[in-house]
């Protein structure tokens, strides 16, 4: 009689938790990818912790505060490490609806990740999409601040340059004889022939300067 019951229980268990069963979820862990050398081995104690975390998450759902660790069933553990799990109700005859389990896991994903030192990429619940953390959005975008700073600097510099140019011009107008313009390289007023000051050319040791041409040759005759 007892053997029969035992077989019945394991049979029911086996039926409830099967790959692809209703309300069953596949979980995939990539411990070595996440932790490298510090990776721990996946054994029955870790499975116990996992069941505890799932039970904990279910307890947070209203009406399911009585969920026990024994209600969480694991099966098909592979080398990967991956396995399937279901959560049964207290009678252990039916599994809880997938939507409830999904909501519970989503709400507590961070706690579950933390218990195993993993993150959303390395501890995956297939079919339960995780809520991604929204990016930090400052009230004023940073780029506008920097833009504003540089913009103001440039405007101030332009204003200063224009004003100093006006002052210089006013000073020059008051003293017409003094050629104090920073752009003017020649000291004396030179005679100009077609924009070429003759003095620098004459400094070439007193040759006759072909550059100082007569008007006829300057332009190509029409």
């Amino acid at each position: 009689m007892l053997w029969l019951l035992f077989f019945l229980m394991t049979a029911i268990h086996a039926e409830l938790c099967q790959p692809g069963a209703a309300n069953a979820f596949k979980v995939r862990l990539s411990i070595r990818t996440a932790l490298g050398n510090k990776a721990y081995a996946w054994d029955t104690s870790e499975e116990y912790l996992f069941k505890a975390m799932v039970a904990f998450s279910m307890r947070k759902v209203p009406n399911r505060e009585a969920t026990e660790i024994s209600h969480v069933l694991l099966c098909n553990v592979t080398q990967r490490v991956s396995f399937w799990f279901v959560v049964t109700d207290p009678s252990k005859n039916h599994t809880l609806p997938a939507v409830e389990v999904q909501t519970a896991i989503r709400m507590n994903k961070n706690r579950i990740n933390g218990a195993f030192f993993l993150n959303d990429q390395t501890l995956e619940f297939l079919k339960i999409p995780s809520t991604l953390a929204p990016p930090m959005d400052p009230s004023v975008p940073i780029w506008i601040i920097i833009f504003g700073v540089i913009f103001c600097i440039v405007i101030v510099a332009i204003t200063l340059l224009i004003l100093s140019g006006i002052w210089q011009r006013r000073r020059k107008n008051k003293e017409p004889s003094e050629v104090d313009d920073a752009e003017d390289k020649c000291e004396n007023m030179n005679t100009i022939e077609n924009g070429i000051p003759c003095d620098p050319l004459d400094m070439k040791g007193g040759h006759i300067n072909d550059a100082f041409m007569t008007e006829d040759e300057r332009l190509t005759p029409l």
Partner: protein, 592 residues
């Protein structure tokens, strides 16, 4: 009594100005692409030959003309022959078009620079979708860097016809870019001369830092070996030679009038031959230097993507067959795949279509040029480096310096003829003329900040300057050699600088360079005619990639207008001068 012409404070400022102008974005984003396409190390052979045969002579010619005539492009060519002042006007028109669209690149560089001060970098992660369960769809299909470029920066529309409105963020950046340019050219050579010290030297500092960083990146040697291994058979490809010639030509910035403008502020005794050789050598050296940096970055990016691809395939196989985590590595992947294919054939054939064939060569083979290289490929590499904010800031700062340096030359080409003209400079001070030019350019440049702006940018980039410049430089060379007279020009130079002109330059100016330019011109024309209808690349948000589309009729009209407005200046002005003189002679005849 006239005011003497402003001069550079010392010859170094002139050299720096020329370097700053010539070394621009093309050295960074066009030359590495050409090097990769046309045989890696063996591309250097046509490149250096073209430099010696075409680049140096033409550069020397322009500098000599500017230094001799001591006027901007319009005045200089009018002095050579009144019939040819159209050449000067064409140069100014082309420079005007160039400065309109070129500063948009600086605006984009500013945008990326300001966004580099965030952690994490905004182009390294995809934004989340509506209900926070996954990433934005467009970003998933493309990559996060492409998404940031096409959606966040450009907010590009699916085609040229859909204009969209002016985007305020790039418009603000464009405004800032023009203000910075105005600040630099405000006082003429006095301010430009100081600014070029920075815009010429800072990019080299950043390039050196990047070279050290790039060479120490994991996988950099893959890129360098792949790219620089010479493929000698490409030497027989005429396209390699044509592209080498075009690259030298456009990289030096000939024909815009900027070099004439810069040289006109020189002392007449300046040794412009030495400077021409120095500038062209530095320009080419910078191209090669920048391509070493670019190839090491390529290698890093390709290796990173290749290893990621392998990881994805391993993960897929591990999950499908429930293998032990960490069992599959890059070395045993092939073996295990074979074993799995034989042990579980049905399951393997199910998963087989999803297994990508990871290949380092195909990652290295993705050749990109232009804005795609600068804003997508480089940012993708940068986001994977440590302390990526620092590298990002350095990189975009360098792009800004290169861009602003070239803008200084462009605006000088427009402003020098304007300030030389007596009519305009007597009514308005120099600051006001510069301000007006910047304002007009900025206003028109707002077109490029619209949603379809990048497509118009591509139109300007591809067609505004190419054909016109070839024609302009051809007419320049012929004008100096045959209209003005090569002997006369030679004796001018000898008197001005005190040095004789070597036979090499004379042969190049009179014969080889014009022939080269004519052949380039013929090649371009035949290329355009053979291609048939012109097409462009449009971004398809639903697929997350570029698709090819045809230009609509009005876009083709704009292209034609762009090319015509600059090239037609030359014959039209010549005709106009001819008519005017005939009229004058007709009036004068009865008096004489």
């Amino acid at each position: 009594m006239e005011k003497t012409r402003p001069l550079w404070s010392n010859p170094l400022q002139f050299v720096f100005a020329c370097i700053s102008y010539a070394v621009g974005l093309g050295n960074v984003w066009r030359f590495p692409y050409l090097c990769q396409m046309y045989g890696g190390g063996s591309f250097l052979v046509p490149y250096i030959i073209m430099l010696i045969v075409e680049g140096m002579p033409l550069l020397y010619l322009e500098l000599a003309v500017g230094q001799r005539m001591r006027q901007g492009s319009i005045g200089a060519w009018r002095t050579i022959s009144p019939y040819l002042s159209g050449v000067g006007i064409a140069s100014v028109v082309v420079s005007f078009f160039l400065s309109m669209y070129y500063n948009v690149i600086n605006a984009w560089a500013f945008w990326y620079l300001f966004h580099s001060f965030q952690d994490p970098l905004p182009w390294s992660v995809c934004p989340l979708n509506g209900n926070h369960t996954g990433y934005d769809e467009e970003c998933e299909k493309a990559s996060s860097t492409q998404y940031f470029w096409y959606r966040k920066t450009l907010n590009i529309s699916p085609s040229l016809q859909e204009n969209g409105g002016v985007q305020w963020e790039p418009a603000l950046c464009l405004l800032l870019a023009w203000l910075v340019v105005y600040l630099c050219i405000l006082r003429g050579t006095e301010s430009t001369g100081k600014v070029v010290y920075f815009t010429a030297s800072l990019p080299y500092c950043v390039l050196i830092i990047y070279l050290i960083r790039g060479l120490t990146l994991h996988g950099a040697t893959n890129g360098l070996m792949y790219m620089f291994t010479p493929k000698m058979e490409q030497l027989a490809n005429p396209k390699a030679w044509v592209n080498a010639a075009t690259q030298i030509f456009f990289s030096l910035g000939l024909g815009f009038g900027s070099l004439i403008a810069f040289a006109s502020y020189n002392e007449p005794s300046n040794n412009c031959q030495k400077h021409a050789i120095i500038v062209s050598l530095i320009n080419s050296f910078t191209s090669i230097f920048a391509s070493i940096v670019t190839f090491s970055i390529y290698g890093f990016k390709a290796t990173f993507n290749y290893e990621n691809c392998l990881k994805k395939v391993s993960l897929l196989l591990t999950n499908t067959f429930d293998l032990e985590d960490g069992f599959l590595t890059a070395s045993n992947l092939e073996q295990v795949k074979g074993y799995l294919a034989s042990a579980y054939p049905s399951k393997y054939s199910e998963v087989f279509p999803h297994i990508k064939n990871c290949s380092l060569e195909s990652e290295l083979d993705t050749a990109v040029q232009g804005t795609g290289l600068a804003f997508i490929v480089y940012t993708e590499a940068i986001k994977n480096m440590e302390v990526s904010q620092l590298w990002s800031v350095l990189y975009f700062f360098m792009l800004l310096m290169l861009g602003i340096g070239s803008m200084l030359g462009n605006t000088a080409a427009i402003l020098t003829p304007l300030t030389d003209s007596k009519i305009i400079s007597s009514h308005l001070p120099k600051e006001a003329i510069s301000g007006l030019v910047c304002l007009v350019n900025c206003a028109i440049g707002m077109v490029f900040t619209m949603e379809a702006g990048n497509y118009w940018f591509d139109i300007f980039n591809d067609y505004a300057a190419t054909l016109s410049l070839l024609l302009i430089v051809l007419v320049e060379t012929i004008a100096v050699c045959y209209v003005y007279g090569l002997r006369r020009f030679e004796s001018d130079l000898k008197a001005m600088t005190g040095r004789a002109v070597s036979w090499y330059w004379k042969v190049m100016w009179a014969g080889v360079s014009p022939l080269l330019i004519v052949s380039l011109f013929v090649f371009y024309l035949s290329d355009y005619i053979l291609t048939g209808t012109l097409k462009y690349q449009a971004w398809d948000a639903s697929q997350g990639q570029l698709v090819t589309k045809d230009y609509p009729a009005y876009a083709l009209a704009v292209i034609g207008l762009l090319v015509a407005s600059s090239t037609m200046c030359i014959p039209l002005v010549a005709l106009g001068t001819f008519v005017l003189h005939h009229l004058k002679r007709g009036d004068a005849a009865p008096v004489a």
